[in-house]
């Protein structure tokens, strides 16, 4: 067993050696893989961050429930109690018809005009703040419909319909990222399998000789598989560096922009888990690509 490990270690080191011996082309390949892997990673981060932003916005999601004009203050208060008891409601505030009129007079500047009216034309209303977790557009719409079924309620209004649109746009972006990622992953596989193919062709004579002196196919395959994994891994490391650099460059302007609206959002970069996933994905792609190239081209080389 330890012999087996030692042999694998030797092959792995010789793969490293192969890369080091041709640093120019190895570097270019690794860079190409890095850039190709960096693109979907950056897009993934973009989607993550936008989702974070909308999450903080939806924390503020509120529904205005306007009551019928003839609702008494007592009935309104009773309804507020009923609504406040619902599980999805964080807090509620009752604005009576009188309060609404006061507010309107103060804010609109039409105070004198309102005095002419004998009756208060404004309805009482209840402001509902939703708990996080109950703020997806579908749930909110259901709630709005339920509220409007109440006989005292004239109109329930959810003033953030545009969040729904944003959600749909996000879903679209997410899917586009997925498609793009699939294409780029394919590109990485093609890049790596091509370099492995070239490596196999360059070492054609050596492979023939190895076969002549009794090397098994798996023995011959091994250094190429390690080479593929190594390229994928280094490419992923390179992608990680590119992504970190990009996030670093964008952090300040984004922070400034965000602070213009509300300051409780910070950009998320590549956390350790995502970084590890990236490395794992790179290595796996390298292995897959090498496997494909080896399966296709190694069999063609037979001593004659």
């Amino acid at each position: 067993m330890s012999d087996y490990l030692v042999r694998h270690a030797q092959v792995f080191l010789s793969s490293v050696g192969q890369l080091v011996r041709s640093p120019g082309s190895s570097l270019l390949t690794v860079l190409a893989i890095g850039i190709t892997l960096a693109l979907p990673t950056l897009l993934y981060l973009l989607v993550e961050n936008v989702q974070n932003v909308t999450r903080t916005w939806q924390g503020r999601a509120q529904i205005s429930v306007f009551l019928q004009l003839d609702t008494t203050n007592e009935a309104a208060r009773a309804l507020q109690d009923v609504l406040a008891a619902r599980p999805e409601i964080e807090s509620s505030r009752l604005i009576t018809a009188q309060q609404a009129l006061e507010e309107f007079k103060n804010q609109s500047g039409f105070g004198a005009a309102m005095d002419i009216l004998s009756d208060n034309p404004l309805p009482a209303s209840i402001l509902l703040h939703l708990k996080t977790g109950h703020d997806q557009p579908e749930l909110i719409e259901n709630l709005v419909r339920e509220l409007e079924a109440n006989p005292e309620v004239d109109l329930a209004q959810w003033d953030m319909a545009w969040i729904k649109r944003l959600h749909i746009i996000l879903r679209l972006v997410q899917r586009s990222v997925l498609i793009l990622a699939a294409l780029l992953v394919l590109a990485v596989i093609i890049i790596i399998s091509n370099t492995i193919r070239l490596a196999i062709m360059n070492r054609r004579d050596e492979i023939e000789i190895m076969k002549l002196i009794g090397a098994t196919d798996s023995f011959i395959r091994r250094p190429f598989l390690y080479g593929g994994v190594l390229q994928g891994l280094l490419g992923a490391l390179c992608a990680g560096a590119i992504v970190s650099a990009c996030v670093g460059l964008l952090q300040d302007p984004i922070g400034e922009l965000v602070s213009l609206y509300h300051g409780d959002f910070s950009t998320t970069g590549l956390d350790p888990r995502s970084f590890f996933t990236l490395l794992l994905a790179g290595s796996a792609l390298g292995w897959l690509a090498a496997r494909a190239a080896v399966g296709r081209y190694l069999g063609q080389i037979e001593p004659a």
């Binding site: 012999d3 023939e208 000789i209 076969k211 002549l212 002196i213 009794g214 023995f219």
Partner: protein, 224 residues
Amino acid sequence: MIRFAQVTKRYESGHEALKSVSFVLDRQEMAFLIGRSGAGKSTLLKLITRVEKTTRGQLIVNDKNITRLSSRQIPFLRREIGVVFQDHKLLYDQTVFDNVALPLVVAGIGHREASRRVRAALDKVDLLNKERLYPIMLSGGEQQRVGIARAVVNRPVVLLADEPTGNLDPQLSDEIMDIFHQFNEFGVTVLIATHEHRHIDRLRKRVLELEQGRLIRGGEGMED
């Protein structure tokens, strides 16, 4: 050790390189395989290492019927057979030591044991002082000796050579043949394809002669 029983080899082109060849080479025997170029000498050797597959007949090497060998088993057959090539087939980006060690690395033999065996093999071909050089720095005769060291390092029971002295002057050629002769005396079965009749007269070993794919001398039921 090697038994050909009515072995025929027809290439895909339709060319029949060997026609119903039968002979037995006993354990520890040494024989020369002669014939004009194109007579089928190389084909015969390639059948023994399963570089080529027999079309008809049975071929037994080291008690194994290799006409029925699966491709998985071929590497293990080749580890029992040492082969020396006319063009050496060395790896020119690796040292003499690494070239000779290759069959041992391939067979998964530990580093310490491998070094010991490589030095022993290099000692036998008198190249111990050149183990750190690259093949390109050696003369043709020396390169061929590296090839021989590589062929014997795994202690094969059979040693095959295809025109091993093809590019060498008579004196070097004799030296190479003497090395093969020594291995034979250590108990290795040796079969050498050559066109140099000088060695046959000098070493007085059995001769197998091919003519247009037929064995016309040294075969089963034939007089020498």
